[in-house]
Assembly symmetry: C2
Homo-oligomer: 205 residues x 2
C-alpha cells in the first residue's frame, strides 16, 4: 500500500477539464470536485426519460422530444396546465409504469406513475413529474398531484425534477407522491386511477 | 349437525330488542340485523379515545371529556380551527403514539399520529383526526393535515372519524394521512415534526 505522494500532490493542485469538454463545457476543476461537477454538468448527455431503463438512447436536450415522438409514439400527450393523468388497470400484478406527457407554458412535462411490489406482496405507488428541460428551468415551475375520492383528498406539491437528474432517486427517497394499494383502491374507479395534475409557474427561485 | 328448524324460523321472524335497550335504545330488529345495528347503535357506550387501548374506560359521550381531563391530564389542548400539531422525537424506536386535543366550533377533536414498525424495520406514520362526538356530528366537519417542507407539501383532507367508531380501522385501511420515515425526515426539523391541522365546517352531508 505505497502511496505516490508526488502524484497525489499534482492531483490536488492541478485543474482538470470536465469530461464533457468536447461537448462544450469549459469548466476545469481540482480532481476531487471533478466527479461531483460531472454528475450535474449541463453538457452531460440526456438519457431517455422513460422509466424502466429499457431504452438506452442518449442525446442532447433538443433531441429528447423528437426521440420520444418517434421511439415512444404510444405515450399520450395532453395540452394544458391542469389535466387528468388516467392510469388504467392499476391492479395489474408486478411492477408497472404509467407514463403521460403534459404540455404547457411552452414546455413538456412527463408524468410518471410507478408501482413497485415488495417481496412480501406489499404494493406501493409513486407519482412524480419531470420537466423535459434543465434543472435550472425546472426551478421555475411547481406541480400539484391530487387524488380525489368520496370526501377524501390526497395532495402532493413540489418542484418538478429535470429529466437530467431523472426520477429514480426521488422515488427511492419517497420524494414524490407515495401511496399504497389500499389508498389506490379508495380513489380508483373500476381499477382506473385518475390523478389531477396541475403545473404552475413560480417565482420561487 | 341437526338444525333446529323450528327455532331458526322464530329467529327469522321475531324482532329482538337492541342489547343497549337499557341505555335507552328503542330499536327492535330481526336477529340477522342485530349485530350490525349494535355495532353502530348510538347508545353503545363510548370507549376512551386514546390510542393504544391501554385505558379500559367506557362511558357516555358526555363523560368522555371529563375522563380525558382527569385521567389523561398530560394531553395538550389547543384552541382554534388552525393549529400546529408538533410531534417531538419522531425517531424514537418502536411503535409510538402522539396525541393532541384541538377545540373549535364548540367541539373537541383528538389528533393522533401513530408510528408503526414492521418486522423488517420499515416504519410507517399514520395521522388522523377524530371528533369527540357522534358519527352524525362528525359528518358536519372536514379536516386538513398538511406537512410543509422546502418547496414540498403533502396534504390529506377527509371527514373526521367519530370516537364512537375510533381510528384503528381507518389506520389499518390507510384511510388517513400515511407516510414513511423518509418523508417524515424530509418534513421534520431536528426530529420534530409539525403537522398543520385545519378543521372546517362543511355543508356536505
Ligand atoms: Zn462540465
Ligand atoms: Zn427512449
Ligand atoms: Zn341500539
Ligand atoms: Zn382513558
Amino acid at each position: 500500500n505505497i502511496r505516490n505522494l508526488g502524484m497525489e500532490k499534482v492531483a490536488m493542485t492541478v485543474d482538470f477539464p470536465c469530461k464533457y469538454a468536447s461537448s462544450g463545457c469549459e469548466v476545469t476543476l481540482r480532481y476531487t470536485h471533478k466527479t461531483e461537477h460531472e454528475e450535474t454538468c449541463e453538457f452531460r448527455p440526456y438519457s431517455c426519460p422513460c422509466p424502466g431503463a429499457s431504452c438506452k438512447w442518449q442525446g442532447t436536450l433538443d433531441a429528447v422530444m423528437p426521440h420520444l415522438m418517434t421511439a415512444h409514439k404510444s405515450i399520450t400527450n395532453l395540452q394544458g396546465e391542469d389535466i387528468v393523468f388516467l392510469a388504467t388497470d392499476i391492479n395489474l400484478p408486478g411492477a408497472v409504469d404509467w407514463v403521460m406527457m403534459q404540455s404547457c407554458y411552452g414546455h413538456h412535462f412527463m408524468l410518471v406513475l410507478e408501482k413497485q411490489e415488495k417481496l412480501d406482496g406489499h404494493q406501493q405507488f409513486f407519482a412524480i413529474v419531470q420537466l423535459i428541460g434543465t434543472r435550472k428551468q425546472a426551478e421555475n415551475f411547481a406541480y400539484r398531484l391530487e387524488l380525489n375520492g368520496p370526501k377524501r383528498r390526497l395532495t402532493w406539491e413540489a418542484t418538478p425534477r429535470s429529466i437530467h437528474e431523472g426520477v429514480s432517486s426521488a422515488i427511492m427517497n419517497s420524494d414524490c407522491m407515495v401511496f399504497d394499494s389500499a389508498i389506490a383502491h379508495m380513489f380508483a374507479d373500476k381499477g382506473n386511477l385518475g390523478i389531477n395534475v396541475t403545473v404552475s409557474m413560480c417565482n420561487c427561485s
